[in-house]
């Protein structure tokens, strides 16, 4: 049977449509994915992402282990800094993408994908070789994501933390609705927003309080359906769909998290070699010029030749057009290159476009 987050009962009470995702029973939508998507773009939405895993590294050598395991440079992190990164295998393939949150002088929390948690813990434990304390905290920790332009206005009614001063990818340990939590200015939607990491036992209290505050701004609880369309419009790759252990972060357009000069780390040698030669294929964004839904696995054509494969696709709720991500050979990866996606035997024309599809207008901070 699929696992349940501490907010399962809350989802049922809200009338959520549930699906199994990564071994968990999760809300797909509450009032409707399109409506929830729009609420996050225009106002705010609240997601339960407690299915995600949390692995804690602790001790005098925790930083060293973290530096060895992840491609980004952990040395830059002060306490209360978060960082997007990848966990690579010896071939430079992406085992998982993650956020590294430094929660103490000798303490890091790695926030990983739900479906990969067990694999990640095994890999981290193996690579650790007894240097740091490794603890899978996934069962003890819940994670809420409050996303959208009104997020700060909503959250500041519930916490004494100086949210206006919290930069993107900064975090603070504070109280939310009277419960201790790590609040970070992070998310997976392309909007401003916060993620709240807290004890499982406090999840329901905080969820209910945030939901009540959110309703006053006409925000909505939002499910995985909206989460997927929001992240795809923002051009954010999903591990398991857009990258996996057989693709490198350089191919996936994540060269910015691969710090080849920081010293050795797992996968560095093959990544350095690929950085030198250039990746043979690249993850690109594309837009179709006719209605049709591109799906994971659909072939991509250019000039009568198969040049790649779709990894994600949808009708963009914001743009109204049909968009996707996919790998193509590097020679045809430039924006404006004409392509066609083969959908049920028909080659639907389109072109490669810049990522992201959607970029928020940065606003003056809400007063």
């Amino acid at each position: 049977m699929a696992r349940r987050t501490p907010l399962y009962d809350a989802h049922v009470a809200l009338g959520a449509k549930l699906i199994e995702f990564g071994g968990w029973d999760m809300p797909l939508s509450y009032s409707g994915a399109a409506e929830e998507h729009q609420a996050v773009r225009e106002r705010c939405g609240l997601f339960d992402v407690s299915h995600m895993g949390e692995v804690e590294l602790q001790g005098a050598r925790a930083a060293e282990v973290c530096q060895h395991l992840t491609a980004n440079d952990v040395a830059k992190l002060r306490i209360g800094d978060a960082q997007y990164s990848v966990l690579c295998n010896e071939r430079g393939g992406v085992i998982d993408d993650l956020v590294v949150l430094r929660t103490g002088a000798e303490r890091y929390v790695l926030i990983v994908n739900a479906a990969n948690t067990a694999v990640d813990v095994a890999w981290i434990t193996e690579q650790n070789r007894g240097r740091a304390g490794v603890a899978d905290r996934s069962d003890e920790l819940a994670l809420l994501a409050l996303q959208g332009p009104d997020s700060e206005v909503v959250l500041r009614t519930l916490t004494p933390a100086p949210l206006a001063a919290l930069r993107p990818f900064a975090a603070i340990e504070t109280a939310v609705a009277g419960r201790l939590a790590w609040v970070s200015r992070t998310g997976y939607t392309g909007e401003d927003g916060f993620e709240v990491l807290l004890d499982t036992d406090d999840a329901r209290t905080v969820w209910d309080a945030v939901l009540e505050a959110l309703r006053r701004r006409r925000g909505l609880p939002a499910g995985l359906g909206a989460r997927d369309t929001l992240r795809l419009e923002a051009g954010l790759p999903l591990h398991g769909s857009d990258m996996d252990a057989e693709t490198t972060p350089l191919e996936a357009g994540l060269a910015w998290v691969v710090k080849l000069r920081k010293g050795d780390f797992v996968g560095r040698a093959p990544l350095a070699a690929q950085a030198e030669s250039g990746p043979p294929r690249r993850l690109v964004a594309f837009e179709l010029s006719e209605p049709a839904v591109p799906r994971h696995g659909h072939p991509i054509w250019h000039d009568g030749t198969a040049v790649g494969t779709v990894t994600s696709g949808m009708r963009s709720p914001t743009l109204g057009s049909f968009i996707g991500l996919g790998y193509v050979t590097s020679g045809v990866s430039a924006p404006d290159t004409p392509i066609a996606v083969e959908i049920r035997g028909r080659r639907v024309p389109g072109r490669i476009v810049n990522r992201p599809f959607y970029r928020r207008v940065r606003q003056e901070q809400a007063r």
């Binding site: 939508s29 409707g32 994915a33 209605p291 049709a292 839904v293 949808m314 049909f322 049920r344």
Partner: protein, 130 residues
């Protein structure tokens, strides 16, 4: 959920409304609710000939793609072209503005084998219990 008594239903969640020698086809309230927000509908051109049970098109949400099956045999005489621009009509009004095809029935007796509203409702209840 609404299942009008005046319609006949398939186990694959299409409905058929008989209008003389013609039939109008769409998907049920249950089907549209299960799919979520419909973003794309692919239908045959007018003039196409369908055989009962044949896959004649697809309806897609961002989550999933689902085949459409012909409730009865016949020739397509009209296609709801507005679904090309407004596929969300399938969600908003599955038995009205969300209609898909109008066909000239080849074998009107086929309709008799379809489910009535009561039988279809029982089918939906059993699927929801899964």
């Amino acid at each position: 959920m609404n299942f009008p008594d005046t319609l006949r239903y398939t186990k694959e969640h299409e409905w058929l409304r008989l209008e003389g020698q013609e039939g109008v086809i769409g998907i049920t309230d249950f089907a549209q609710d299960s799919l979520g927000d419909v973003v794309f509908v692919e239908l045959p051109a007018a003039g196409a000939t369908l055989t009962q049970g044949q896959a004649f098109g697809v309806v897609e949400s961002n989550k999933t793609v689902s085949d459409l099956f012909a409730p009865v045999s016949g020739r397509v005489v009209a296609v709801n072209e507005t679904l090309r621009e407004k596929p969300e009509q399938v969600n908003a009004d599955p038995y009205g503005g969300g209609w898909m095809l109008r066909i000239a029935l080849a074998r009107p007796d086929e309709a008799g084998a379809l489910l009535d509203a009561k039988a279809y409702q029982a089918l939906v209840a059993s699927e929801q219990a899964k």
